[in-house]
Chain length 635, copies 2
């Protein structure tokens, strides 16, 4: 089969209502407000070497201010998000702010290329002494991604030059050669960034460095983190006990090709697997491909929330054991769902199988998108699937990683819609884009129009500059059981293979495809081993997972409802909610909360008929605090 490649995010325009609203919000509100927060909390000042002013005390932690070792990464990630946004609409003010940051990074860089503002400003003698905990290479990765995105949007390469010097320093420092450290980062990220640098420069040395980090990971004995720790102990630098009880936390418990269970910190895991899949593609590495497929199956069959949230536990911000998917205490970090999208996209280009796009889409519309508020200035770090109303969105976080992860995702989402091969186009997502793509040397203008995800009716115009024979592959989502396709008004019988319907023909200007993906409301049940969901049902329509929220169901916590199996789910277009959404309603029963004055009693609660209204999960917690539930008890 032909090898499909992603298109560049800068080459895709978002035109559909759904994503245009999110993109406009990110452009107008999220990017500027995030810059403001970076300033208020001292992240921008922390770059002003050699004497950064002391940071603010963080208001949620009255007993301690915070300077985080990972702040460079947050600044880098903000620039990346801003750069994606600039590709849609240039903005001199934002660009000036980026340039000011680049000034600071350029000034801060050590003569040998090293560039980490925490170490340079505070403990220069300790650089590269604690890869296990202190995120130096992780920071470098995010800064590099930011520099690449900024260059791709603006053509300005000053920061990219700075980062390429830093990468040369890193290349000289790490490796298997004499005098080099055989280290790798406790928090994966630089590996996938180096692959991006390879894509930009085509210089294979960047791929080689990424492959070094991947292949060295988890080699032992001795374990590199132990070598490091012993060196720190000799220096008297090891003040705190390692908080994690094993190296599964950082997926360094064994070499990556031997890993067959998804373990540890969820975001780290996803960034690692993304880079592994990247390298499997670029190096045609069957071992890495096999490991990726095994790990994918493990997470899909035993460890993923229905929202594509990942990592149930706050203790390790990550994975625990099979089928452990608690709802109210779900960690399900926004970053983990964003990073799952990265991994799924790489898997999709390793093997064009709709199962990867299905998960990409689920994460995009649910686990990731829930992390950003409607107003574009509030966030969730954790994404529980049930709430008693206590958690609420925050406007910033001690660890602000998720804020910029969701803004960079939204600002670059166009890059996930379509891929090209020498002899074809593949549409993965629907929702309204236009682009001009290269198919085997022929420019093909495409425009995909739809009201997705509210409707499954999709129109695609295919306009090659000259008639040309090639495949158009249309993803038929796993949730869709009766897709129909027509070309220029003529029904087409296209068998769905691995989640894609392929139309091969000679395409000419004015050709149009109509794809219809019927989208009934559906009940979904979890494997009985997910004990938290036993006797419960979730509601879905198309790619959207639904929840019941107190705002739509006033009169007590939404946990009062039970939904009979036979209740019909009514699909309602609601123009009064959030600029228009589709809700689901159903006859249900509800416990009466009145007349309880003790915590426990032997008299059963009374129940009454009630109507339940469900809203797409990604929209929850945008109307004040209130209870919420994805998995509804069945009557």
């Amino acid at each position: 089969m032909s090898q499909y490649h992603p298109v560049r995010f800068v080459d895709v325009r978002l035109e559909g209502d759904f994503w245009k609203e999110r993109l406009d919000t990110v452009l107008a509100r999220t990017i500027p407000s995030q810059h403001k927060k970076l300033g208020e909390y001292g992240l921008l000042d922390s770059l002003k070497l050699p004497n950064p002013p002391p940071p603010l005390r963080f208001p949620r932690h009255p007993n301690g201010f915070t300077v985080q070792v990972f702040w460079d990464s947050d600044v880098g990630k903000w620039i990346e998000a801003a750069a994606y946004a600039l590709s849609h609409r240039r903005d001199a003010d934002i660009e000036a702010r980026i340039e000011a940051i680049v000034d600071d990074f350029e000034r801060a860089q050590a003569p040998d290329g090293y560039l980490n503002c925490w170490y340079l400003g505070r403990e220069p003698e300790k650089r590269w002494s604690n890869l296990r905990d202190n995120h130096e290479l992780y920071n470098a990765g995010h800064m590099l991604e930011g520099a690449i995105a900024y260059f791709e949007t603006t053509g300005r390469r000053r920061w990219l030059d700075v980062m390429e010097r830093y990468v040369e320093h890193i290349r000289a420092t790490f490796g298997t050669g004499p005098g080099q450290k055989r280290g790798y980062c406790g928090h994966e990220e630089i590996e996938l960034a180096l692959v991006k640098l390879y894509h930009l420069t085509k210089d294979k040395k960047h791929l080689d460095l990424a492959a070094y980090f991947i292949n060295e990971r988890g080699q032992q004995p001795p374990h590199y983190f132990d070598i490091e720790r012993e060196a720190r102990e000799k220096q008297g630098w090891e003040l705190q006990r390692y908080a994690q009880s094993n190296y599964e936390y950082s997926q360094s418990h064994k070499p990556v090709r031997q890993q067959d269970k998804v373990v540890g910190h969820a975001v780290r895991a996803m960034y690692l697997y993304t880079a592994m899949a990247d390298l499997a593609v670029e190096l045609n590495d069957a071992g890495l491909r096999k490991a990726c497929e095994t790990l994918w199956d493990d997470v899909m069959v035993t460890k993923m929330y229905i929202t594509a949230g990942l990592g149930p536990s706050p203790h390790n911000e990550g994975f625990t054991y099979d089928y452990d998917l608690p709802n109210q205490t779900a960690y399900a970090e926004t970053c983990a769902s964003v990073a799952l999208i990265f991994w799924a996209q790489r898997m999709l280009h390793l093997d064009l199988d709709g199962k990867y796009a299905d998960v990409l889409e689920t994460a995009l519309y649910n686990g990731a998108l829930a992390g950003l508020s409607r107003d574009g200035e509030h966030y969730f770090y954790m994404n529980p699937l049930e709430s008693n109303g206590t958690p609420n969105r925050w406007d910033w976080h001690t660890c602000p990683c998720c804020t910029m992860n969701v803004s960079r995702l939204v600002a670059s989402v166009g890059g996930y819609f379509v891929s090209t091969a020498p002899d074809g186009l593949a549409f993965h997502l629907y929702g309204g884009i236009s682009s001009t793509l290269d198919v085997g040397g022929t420019k093909v203008a495409v425009r995909e129009v739809s009201n997705y995800p509210w409707s499954g009716a999709v129109a695609i115009a295919i306009d090659p500059e000259a008639p040309k024979a090639f495949d158009v592959k249309l993803r038929v989502p796993g949730w869709c059981r009766s897709a129909t396709i027509s070309v220029n008004g003529q029904a087409v019988e296209a068998k769905v293979v691995n989640g894609y319907a392929t139309i091969h023909r000679t395409w000419a200007k004015g050709d149009s495809i109509a794809l219809d993906l019927p989208m009934p409301a559906e009940r979904v049940f979890a494997h009985p081993a997910v004990v938290m969901d036993a006797g419960r049902v979730a509601l879905k329509r198309g790619p959207l997972v639904y929840c019941i929220e107190e705002a739509d169901n006033p009169g007590g916590t939404v946990q009062r409802f039970k939904l009979p199996r036979q209740s019909e789910l009514a699909v309602r277009q609601r123009d009064d909610l959030f600029d228009g959404v589709v809700t689901l309603t159903a006859p249900a029963t509800a416990i009466d909360e009145a007349e309880w004055n003790t915590l426990y009693r032997t008299a059963p609660p009374s129940e009454a008929p009630a109507t339940l209204t469900a809203l797409p999960y990604y929209l929850w917690a945008n109307r004040g605090q209130g209870s919420m539930l994805v998995w509804i008890p069945e009557a």
Copy 2:
């Protein structure tokens, strides 16, 4: 009403099967094995000043050994447990081990009376510099309780003398006088221990010191923990940020008389309230009494598990917000239920109201007793009300506080059965005891015989040395709706007031009471605001909360069951289980776990009729790992 006083634990013999089995196990297995663990993990060595050998690395934390600042307390608590056990059966071997520990403590004590082996052995210059975190006074409290119990059982006062010298040092160090520190411990405990020392010595200075600690707590500004912290910062001793974001963690956010919400670390809270109630009794302090009553109502109406477990959250080992009672992630530390028993006992002697005894009994038979395995050598620190089979009992813990808390409880449980007043006797618990008590100068032999908690039939023999008129008060548990009483075979009409039926008469040798407490199996429902329990039901019989465990319900996780509201609960005597228990069985439905190969699917699970068997909660996790559930979904 007459003031009732507890009897001394040494004056009560346990004779009933239920408690005798637990006591024999603690005597024969728990006390010796705990001493062995104290040795293996370095706690005993840590007392060998001036040069304690380095402790073992703790096997669950491969990257760091552990020497805990609270180890003195664990040794003190073991001696206390052992002393209670010795009151039932002297044991020269155990006594020799205690004497060896006393040797070490005596040798370690500083010339000025100070006695904390962590500080004396490691950082003598830092003593009393961090009351917030480092448990010095907490340790002193547990050591003092141990010394008192050991003296009460054996009459040996060498360790008590050591501890009285230490108490004098503490008295000189803390207070409102010139040059004194106005401090108090971040972890309450010494206050209730000082009240015990007062009870033993009748010296009011100990009560005054306890009252000082209680009254000083939470006074501000400035807050004592801030004064301390600033002093440490000046010395460069403050290496770590305070892990807790506020002083509610240690109930020092405001003066105790102003506290009206139960907050923070659950064990700390319970020890504090115990001492507050103690002082309310001893000082006839209406302000403390009011605070205790308000706090009691708060925890009972909004924050207690049905098992009398306390503290849902591992983050602060304590309380969160009203009705937050998650089941699978319940922290519900064994120590907190043990300490609730202490508090409830003090409240009961402040005001002889059965509501306090009801909670004492619930905690005793459920939340606390679940912490000790059937074999007497395994423990739970956390006591979840639901499990998917992952947690299992451990044979020791990094923080072994719960192990000795449950052993000292079982070994002293006789002290909770009965109280005396100048004109009466009050029976709080049933289960088989004998004692000779003093009622207004008359010796009264009592023997209470029953198969409680399996049966509610109780026979009580009252044998005064000479005929005497006095009250016999019999607690009628809150769960009992139709108690009957007879004296010498004649039915007695005794109105139940505040949970006690009072029989006033002239008692003479040979008098006997028959109390019958019918004990049907019952369904219990939680307040709808406890969203975790919505649509669920718990099963109780008498004081016992039941659970369904996989061992009795093989074929998949027990979360597969649903229990119809109308299913009859059958009570079964099962002699084949744990030397005889009563189980409950009921017709139910169960999800079929077969034929699932995906995590989520649209086809509903199939269900089939099934029989569900429930076991008393305190017995769970004694037959290997398996799922468990207290709150069962209703069909």
